[in-house]
Symmetry: C2
Subunit: 289 residues, 2 copies
């Protein structure tokens, strides 16, 4: 059975492990803080590759940032990673084939192959974390667009420039549906810069009225955004993944989404492929190439 050495390169951490063709993790998960320099990142990758490349068929990297249609490089800049990250020649780091995919795209693929969107012709995955990522699968293929960057969840929630997004534009879905957004919602409502996402979640759990209102506004924004995506893609399901997904009420979101669609109803589901779905998806994609 084929095996891939997989990486997940994010703004804070780099993870690495070995994954087989069934999408099973078959070795330890190695963890590193993401270095703040290009050489630092390359060194982490090189050391892991040196250690494991003889045991695997290919290298599979799930990464922050958009990945080109050739799956060889990151295109453009990625807010959370060191400047010039997109200049790394990943193939140079190994004698084995190196395959890259955007982390949310890779997670969407993992859900499609071994997770909660298995058997779905058309699915949309949202990663609700510090930011919001997206991965869209249409008839057994990831939606990549002309340059590989498709699936970015930066459609607008207001047309008139209210809240600046991390991308530099205004009012993107990401800045209303992320963990960061929940904190901003709370800051605005309570007029208190020190309030945290954690405070809102704890308040929600203990039945605090104000915190519940703040949470409901955030969940409504997520619902409204998903409704637009469902009218565009007519998907079998929308999968919610990422650290914030555990807090939302998927049943309530599903009811809200389905109440006034133009297309037939859809299903809203939590991801089931686990915390390392990015590595699993990248590995499965790399091995099928």
């Amino acid at each position: 059975m084929k095996k891939a050495l997989a990486f997940d390169i994010g703004g804070t951490k780099i993870y690495s492990t070995i994954i087989n063709e069934d999408g099973e993790i078959i070795s330890e998960i190695d963890k590193f803080s993401t270095p703040k320099t290009l050489d630092g990142i390359k060194d982490v990758l090189k050391k892991q590759i040196l250690k494991y490349e003889d045991k695997v068929d290919c290298i599979a990297i799930a990464t922050a940032g958009a990945v080109n249609n050739e799956n060889t490089a990151v295109i453009g800049s990625t807010g959370n990673l060191v400047k010039g990250y997109f200049t790394i020649d990943f193939q140079k780091l190994s004698s084995k084939k190196v395959f890259l995919e955007n982390d949310a795209n890779a997670a969407a693929w993992a859900e499609y192959k071994i997770g909660s969107s298995r058997g779905s012709k058309v699915s949309v995955l949202l990663t609700l974390g510090t930011g919001v990522g997206g991965g869209i699968i249409i008839n057994d293929k990831l939606l990549k667009g002309k340059s590989g960057a498709a699936g970015e969840m930066h459609f607008k929630m207001y047309p008139d420039k209210r809240r600046k997004c991390t991308c530099g534009s205004y009012d993107c879905f990401e800045i209303y549906a992320s963990g960061t957004a929940l904190k901003l919602d709370a800051e605005e409502t309570l007029n208190d810069k020190s309030v945290t996402t954690y405070d809102v979640i704890e308040g929600l759990k203990s039945g605090d009225k104000k915190m519940t209102e703040i949470f409901n506004r955030w969940q409504n924004d997520i619902t409204v955004g998903i409704k637009g995506l469902v009218n565009l893609f007519d998907p079998d399901c929308v999968v919610l993944s990422g650290s914030m997904a555990q807090f939302v009420n998927t049943k309530k979101i599903e009811e809200g989404v389905n109440e006034d669609l133009v297309v037939p109803p859809t299903s809203i589901r939590l991801a089931t492929a686990g915390n390392y779905s990015g590595m699993i998806g990248a590995a499965l994609l790399a091995m099928q190439k």
Copy 2:
């Protein structure tokens, strides 16, 4: 060379003509007011079919409403057409193969084959008319979704229910980017129910300050909506079609869209396949099947 008897069935008019494999219109355009009954619509189609079906290889229908993935029937209800329209068994009307596609999808296909998105791997077409239609092409295929209804331009411009859309939901792109929307913008700004789309366009042309402001708000809403679509689909181009498209400044929209995208820049273009692009696209799709 193959030929198709083509129809365009809209809420107000039904058009019909014959189209060849090159997408050329090779007979008169017949025009009918759309009957208000099911039998009335069927009668118009039957008469045309009886007259022409011996001369063609297939029947191609561009229609309002979503069309299923088998291209045989309309699914769900269509606001502008008679109730129960989706129950029509179109294949029964002819001994030749009958092929249906949504009118905006068909127009997108015509632009892709003989119009302004020719050669584009990924393109989005918007029909800006009384309403807004959408057709999305990804790698030589129309985006259809699980049930055939994908490409509906009912993503939300506000999350908090301001303006009711014709679809029954609130704040859809359609109700901010259509001709109807421009009238609503003017009504709200001028507090005058009698103002028309025509008044705004005339005011814009003559340099009226208020009307120019109203027009610019409308054009900005279109720009903001397209920006979201471009971040989602990463298209080579966005094509603007329909009766309102002639009034927008595509260069200004393109600059606005490209100024803060997450994906690489795109191109905004006017449609060039003409007023009968729906029939042309449906005919080309039907003949390639």
